[in-house]
């Protein structure tokens, strides 16, 4: 009697738990569907007329100085390359510069020798301190704001906007922590991007993330025209670059440091492509394997200018605005030498891309599932045993 009823009991318990708790949407199906839809190749020049940047540092407290330096470094770079402050949404805990432990009050440095003060004289932080939350980040992306929210906190993009999204903080497999009390998962960001795509809120997105196991964060994307890159693959940490003995903490992360270093040789009219940037990644220097995901992106990477995402506007019409004027585009004359010199890095990136392809959720996922169910089963058996023991 007891032998028969015991498995039944457990079965009942599990189906009950499952029915109530398991509301996981079948993301794999959606992903597959969108991969198929996006098979067509897009045009080679960018169609955008405006550029936006969303820069998120999801950490706070003094020991995460380097994350704030990461975000401020990116802020300085996009601003230098021509994105106006009105088009930059900077989310930053902002407790490093004026921290009582900061020996250099009002400054944030990211380099040995403290040559460049990233905090500078003109910083516009749009979401500060406790405003840096998962909810606010999702609201910024999807545009679902209360009517009272000011213009500077909104991402007022349209179908012709290229958006650069940069995130940094402490993360893990498919999640990123926000200020030690909540976390955003890869699914949340993927869903937010899909909502933006549905409302025609972007032309193209460059998603860049510097955190541990960063490449898992873009593995769930399924909307078209997104180019993604991360600092470390699954089960890898992302390491800091420089310890400043006077400041007393690490001042920047390796991945971001090498990207910013590369960006220093770029100016507003540079012709370097994203393929060049990705080819500059050196796992030996970064101490982790950075990844690139371009399968959702419509254009070949060697034709995508870095300034398409980091810079200002790209096209100008000279004349009185009537018909038939020549359109000045920075491509024109140098196009040919470009394409030939960029052939090689492109191949390299494609190769690394192949390695970085998202692993199908077959064995590890199944194993995790079994493990989770095993745990529940074991607990059930133990508690049941105690319950039946007279």
């Amino acid at each position: 009697m007891l032998v028969v009823s015991f498995p039944h009991l457990l079965l009942f318990l599990f189906s009950w738990t499952w029915g109530i708790l398991a509301t996981t949407p079948s993301h794999e199906e959606i992903v597959g569907e969108f991969f198929n839809q996006n098979a067509h190749a897009g045009s080679s020049t960018s169609n955008h007329t405006n550029n936006w940047a969303v820069l998120v540092c999801s950490s706070r407290y003094w020991f995460n100085y380097r994350h704030m330096a990461n975000a401020l470094g990116m802020y300085r770079t996009v601003k230098r390359l021509g994105i106006p402050d009105s088009n930059i949404i900077l989310m930053l805990a902002d407790d490093a510069a004026c921290n009582s432990r900061n020996r250099f009050p009002g400054s944030v440095y990211a380099n040995p020798g403290r040559g460049l003060d990233l905090y500078g004289d003109n910083i516009e932080v749009d979401y500060r301190g406790y405003e840096v939350t998962v909810e606010n980040f999702i609201r910024v992306l999807t545009g679902r704001m209360e009517p009272s929210v000011p213009r500077s906190k909104r991402l007022l993009t349209d179908a012709r906007s290229n958006i650069f999204v940069y995130m940094t903080g402490h993360g893990g497999n498919e999640f990123l922590k926000f200020q030690d009390n909540e976390e955003i998962s890869a699914f949340d960001i993927a869903d937010a991007f899909e909502q933006m795509w549905q409302k025609k809120r972007y032309n193209e997105i460059l998603f860049m993330i510097d955190t541990c196991q960063a490449n898992t964060m873009y593995s769930k994307f399924y909307s078209p025209n997104i180019l993604a890159t991360g600092s470390a693959k699954l089960d890898q940490n992302s390491y800091s670059y420089e310890n400043d003995n006077d400041i007393g903490v690490s001042v920047i992360d390796r991945f971001t440091h090498y990207i910013l270093e590369y960006m220093e040789q770029i100016n507003k009219t540079s012709h370097e492509s994203m393929a060049d940037l990705f080819a500059s990644y050196d796992p030996a220097k970064i101490h982790s394997d950075p990844g690139v995901r371009a399968d959702l992106f419509g254009r070949p990477l060697n034709e995508v200018r870095i300034t398409d995402f980091f810079g200002g506007v790209s096209q100008v019409e000279v004349g009185n605005g009537g018909d038939g004027e020549a359109r000045a585009s920075p491509s024109g004359t140098t196009e040919e030498e470009n394409s030939s010199s960029e052939e090689r890095p492109a191949v390299a990136v494609n190769a690394s891309q192949a390695q970085q392809k998202v692993a199908p959720p077959s064995r590890p996922a199944k194993w995790r599932m079994t493990r989770a169910w095993g745990g529940v089963l074991l607990l059930g058996v133990l508690v049941g045993w105690v319950g039946f023991k007279r």
Partner: protein, 495 residues
């Protein structure tokens, strides 16, 4: 002394006879736990479930399949040959067949003399041997069998003008126009101290803004700045300085120029007069071959227009912008504004005597904006339905549902107006788009965060499993004991 002796006359009581161990009481206690749990389930369900009202999905899909159609009638007047309307119709039909995408939503009919009044906008083409002239909704054109094909071409451009979607700003019921006079460096001397902006606007722009008032509501702001450095150094030429096409693309130094206030969320169109520093005059725009371009104005698609003004050398220091310069600059601004708002040009061979816009141009613009808005509203409604379907924990509240329904109503009314009033059609289409966007951007529609299944087990199992399993176990034990009792009682009764 023995440790414990019961007093005489007392016996140990059978525990099962204790009042709190009575079968009935025990079962009552166990049952009451279960009653509380079962009674609480609906409450718990109510408070933890997400409000997801059903959206009018089928209505959205049927509405999305609709296509806005504008009937347009063309009346030929003062013609000798009665067969001309039919052949013109034939020529227009050929053009429609060749590019159906451009003629989308337009039903063009050339009226015969004997046609009764049919609905639709009426345009008149009058035969006249002078130069072609377009006025309100009329066109003077030499109509002969030989010129009929040219007339059909002119009519195509008048009715469905080619547009550059890259340049034209996206439709918004409200725009902010920000006029800025930038002195690169007033400290270098010979700067421009001010301008008669209100006079210039009322002279050059007000007629346009009034003409377009059915489409947009404009707010105007202006400012003068005295220090606006460039982010690059212009090329030094033998006779002045030049900006290469490459530098032109990064001309706007957005990091240091603040060109508009951020009071509202309306889209801004910028108009900038740039006065080069006295040490860098004249500053000219170079073409790709490096020779100075005759034009000193350029346009950034969807952003605005910029004019570089080099004051004459005899300009005294710190004087306002001279009237003549202001006039030529503002007539350029006017052209740029028209281009940015997507006002179509007339065919190259057709003149006009209308002060600002002809009815042909305005109607073509209204039709195109209405089509765009209708498409935008339909797409937005479709995406709302699709996303709500796709993302399971996205709440849908009453206000979202209301906005979706209102947007559908506006679309319905738009179709009803499409053959009678173009202005009302546009207004309804704009309302439909605004409402659909408001529904999409409803702050309450934020999908709850996604948690992996493991997280849920980890949170709920320690909480519920440890409480539930003993309760289930006792319940099962109790039921078994009860059934055993009944069996025994039955067998006892049988004996």
């Amino acid at each position: 002394m023995p440790p414990h002796v019961h007093p005489e006359g007392t016996t140990l009581r059978d525990p099962s006879k204790l009042f709190y161990q009575l079968d009935f009481n025990r079962r009552l206690i166990i049952a009451s736990y279960w009653v509380v749990i079962i009674a609480a389930i609906p409450l718990w369900w109510h408070f933890t479930s997400i409000e997801r009202l059903s959206l009018p999905t089928s209505q959205v899909h049927s509405q999305a399949a609709n296509q806005l159609r504008f009937p347009v009638q063309i009346q030929l007047e003062n013609i000798q040959d009665a067969s001309l309307p039919a052949s013109l119709q034939q020529l227009l039909d050929d053009r429609i067949q060749r590019s159906p995408q451009a003629w989308k939503g337009l039903d063009v009919r050339v009226r015969n003399q004997n046609d009764a009044n049919k609905p639709g906008d009426l345009f008149t083409v009058t035969a006249n041997d002078n130069i072609p002239l377009a006025s309100q909704r009329d066109l003077m054109y030499p109509i002969r069998p030989g010129t009929l094909s040219m007339l059909a071409d002119a009519l195509s451009i008048l009715l469905v003008p080619p547009t550059d979607t890259h340049r034209v700003a996206q439709y918004s019921p409200r725009y902010r126009l920000a006029f800025t006079l930038l002195n690169e460096d007033a400290a270098a001397g010979k700067s421009i101290s001010g301008w008669d902006i209100s006079g210039a606007i009322s002279r050059h722009l007000s007629p346009i803004l009034n003409g377009l008032s059915v489409l947009h509501n404009f707010t105007i702001e202006s400012q003068v700045q005295f220090h606006a450095p460039l982010a690059f150094s212009p090329l030094s030429l033998p006779d002045g300085y030049g900006i290469t096409p490459e530098d032109l693309t990064v001309f706007v130094n957005s990091a240091e120029w603040s060109l508009s206030s951020s009071v509202s969320n309306d889209p801004v169109l910028h108009f900038v007069i740039f006065i080069p520093s006295a040490s860098r005059r004249p500053l000219q725009i170079l073409d790709s071959r490096g020779s100075p371009s005759p034009s000193s104005a350029f346009l950034l698609p969807q952003w605005g227009g910029i004019i570089i003004y080099n004051p004459p050398p005899e300009q005294e220091s710190h004087a306002p912008l001279p009237q003549s310069a202001l006039n030529s600059i503002f007539s350029t601004f006017a052209t740029q504004l028209l281009a940015l708002l997507g006002v179509p040009n007339l065919p190259p061979d057709v003149q006009t005597d209308a002060p600002v816009l002809t009815g042909w141009q305005l109607d073509a613009l209204l039709r195109r904006r209405a089509l765009e808005n209708a498409e935008g509203a339909q797409d937005t409604l479709k995406s709302i339905v699709k996303l709500v379907d796709q993302i399971e924990n996205m709440p849908v509240g009453q206000d979202v549902k209301g906005d979706v329904q209102d947007s559908l109503t506006a679309l319905d009314q738009m179709y009803a107006y499409s053959s009678t009033s173009l202005n009302s059609t546009l207004h309804q289409s704009a309302d439909a788009l605004t409402l659909a966007s408001r529904a999409f951007f409803n702050p309450g529609m934020l999908a709850l965060l996604y948690f992996p299944a493991e997280h849920k087990y980890a949170v709920y199992t320690p909480l519920f499993a440890s409480a539930m399993i003993p309760m289930i176990a006792t319940a099962v034990r109790e039921i078994r004991a009860w059934r055993k009792q009944r069996r025994e009682a039955a067998s006892a009764a049988a004996q």
